[in-house]
Subunit: 347 residues, 2 copies
């Protein structure tokens, strides 16, 4: 038995001492689920990062604005499209000037609940924004000043920054861009039928979804995919029982977190992704090599747990995962009209 | 006096026979405006192109979906962004694989009222979609089949096509993609304060905007910018009184419609663009060379009418043009959740 399966089995056993049939009981299953998972919060603000209306609205506008990247033709929404639930549908993203991103674009929905990026090389959603500005792939700008110069050419932005950061003498700064976009992202939570279930409404999940939830727990998926995000909070080796690239057919061998930490134990280690909205965010894994969720579930069982799931088991688990899909948040699903103005033409 | 100014002067004279001061009169100005312009229709459907709910919704979804272009990373919204009022904010657009578009992306708002494209080389918004699929710049696909193959990989599309085209044995066709996207586009009208004014509400325009309207008429802008779109319906030489590229400093000399028709008279001829939402769609002209609307107005007066506008005149006209900005239509400003699924990874 793998270590992950052993952990999962221990969790299950703690609830199943009275009767072996207990897991089939809907009330017990709900109690188990309430121990393992957590409902989404109202937002992901912190005392230090207040989600004022002006700050969130500025962040939302910046998120949709393509005029700050090197060729002024890509915005945050290019790789994090609302229509695709905050992803881009690609295996690995295509950045500015057709430069390839090395990994699959994670959704920004609920993202402030997770370790940031597949390898955890960003400290927070705000840190991600700051580093994106000068990433050769993401913004492609040589420095933060180049971004600020573009902003300054669009007269409508100054009052928006002033309103969002009223106490700052100079409001239009790279740090404030990051705080504003971070504030916007921290509002993007997607309550789902599973949250209604966790609140006590058993029928919010269909009987099949509840069977899937039980299998999700008993198979051992919950050893990593737990908590409010159903994942997102820990690092794990991808490919415990066998190499992931053999199981998926991927032609990309990614060393993962070792390239960040230089610690040999971090070879092939990635963050465990949150499974919220997973049904809407194909393709799967850090390399996006698997297109169908059903296949992704079977790959995970195989490489992480050493199990071969039946098609029926995988189908039930997928039905449970479907219940993690929430509505697109209104702030993300409606488009702000940007302050008008052209930045210098790119020739 | 240039021919355009002569036409404009004739129109004005027809209303101004009673008293030279009559143009200052608000009621007379409204009557003039009602003769020269027209309120937007409810939509831009035709008997042959019905705007059924299913067809419009399918078109809207397709419009936002990036998975059909060659690298699956650009959708119609890339160059026609809702946040930028259906344009991309660039002088000239950047297509798939960083390939340059030769001209400025026109807004799709109200676009079915206008000649399609700067050179009129598309017959309709539907014809534009069909040709975009195999344009090396726009979709970059080798043929329509490649687009349809992508569509077929996303299971959620078949029922949407069936609902949109219930009488077609094979609903998922390139023609129907074009009809659906066209249907969506034909809903995108943007009623503005100017429409309320044309309906008889004089105070829908500020006094300055009304002065600007009067100057717009009397200067001769209305010789070309007339009708429901305040332009969009005729071809004109750009650069009547002098070469436009000299007046704008543009380094692009575009021969215009002559490259389409091969008729020598079409040298430097372009469609007259609609001025609806013009304040939101910088930069200006077919080459996007001019960033500010105030400058664009002065360039037009100079090269088309041989006039040097004062700053005050240009400002007043810009204030009038501001009144042509409507609300972003709800169907364009809210984002549909796309049918989930990944197309083959692009490596």
């Amino acid at each position: 038995m793998s270590r992950l399966r052993w952990i999962a089995a221990s969790v299950v056993a703690a609830f199943a001492t009275a009767s072996p049939a207990a897991a089939a009981d809907d009330t017990l299953l709900l109690k188990q689920a309430q121990q393992l998972f957590k409902m989404l919060p109202k937002d992901m603000g912190t005392p230090d990062l207040p989600l004022t209306t002006a700050r969130v609205e500025l962040g939302r506008i910046l998120f949709f604005d393509p005029r700050f990247t090197i060729d002024a033709n890509m915005s945050c929404t290019t790789c994090h499209q609302p229509a695709l639930y905050g992803t881009d549908g690609l295996a690995t993203s295509i950045g500015v000037q057709q430069r390839p991103h090395p990994r699959n674009a994670p959704t920004i929905l609920n993202s402030a609940l997770s370790i940031t990026h597949w390898r955890g090389d960003r400290d927070s959603v705000e840190d991600q924004v700051i580093k994106a500005m000068t990433s050769p792939i993401t913004f492609g700008q040589p420095n933060e000043k180049a971004v600020l110069d573009r902003l300054a050419r669009i007269p409508g932005y100054a009052p928006l920054f002033k309103a969002a950061f009223p106490d700052d003498a100079a409001a239009m700064t790279a740090q404030n861009i990051a705080k504003a976009i971070g504030a916007f992202e921290r509002t993007l939570v997607t309550p789902s039928p599973f949250d209604a279930y966790l609140a006590g409404n058993i029928s919010a999940l269909s009987p099949t979804a509840r069977v899937g939830l039980e299998k999700f727990i008993n198979t051992g998926c919950i050893a990593c995919h737990e908590g409010v995000g159903v994942g997102g909070t820990m690092y794990r080796k991808f490919g415990v029982m066998e190499d992931y690239w053999k199981a998926t057919g991927s032609q990309i061998i990614d060393k993962g977190r070792v390239d960040v930490t230089k610690a040999p134990d971090d070879l092939y280690v990635f963050r465990v992704p949150s499974l919220r909205n997973v049904a809407m965010t194909a393709p799967y894994f850090h390399d996006g090599w698997v297109a169908a969720l059903h296949d992704a579930v079977r790959v995970m069982a195989r490489v992480q747990l050493g199990l071969t799931l039946t098609d029926a088991d995988a189908r039930d688990i997928v039905t449970f995962l479907d219940s993690l899909t929430g509505e697109l948040p209104a702030k993300f699903g409606t488009i702000p009209a940007l302050p008008p103005g052209a930045v210098p033409p790119v020739k």
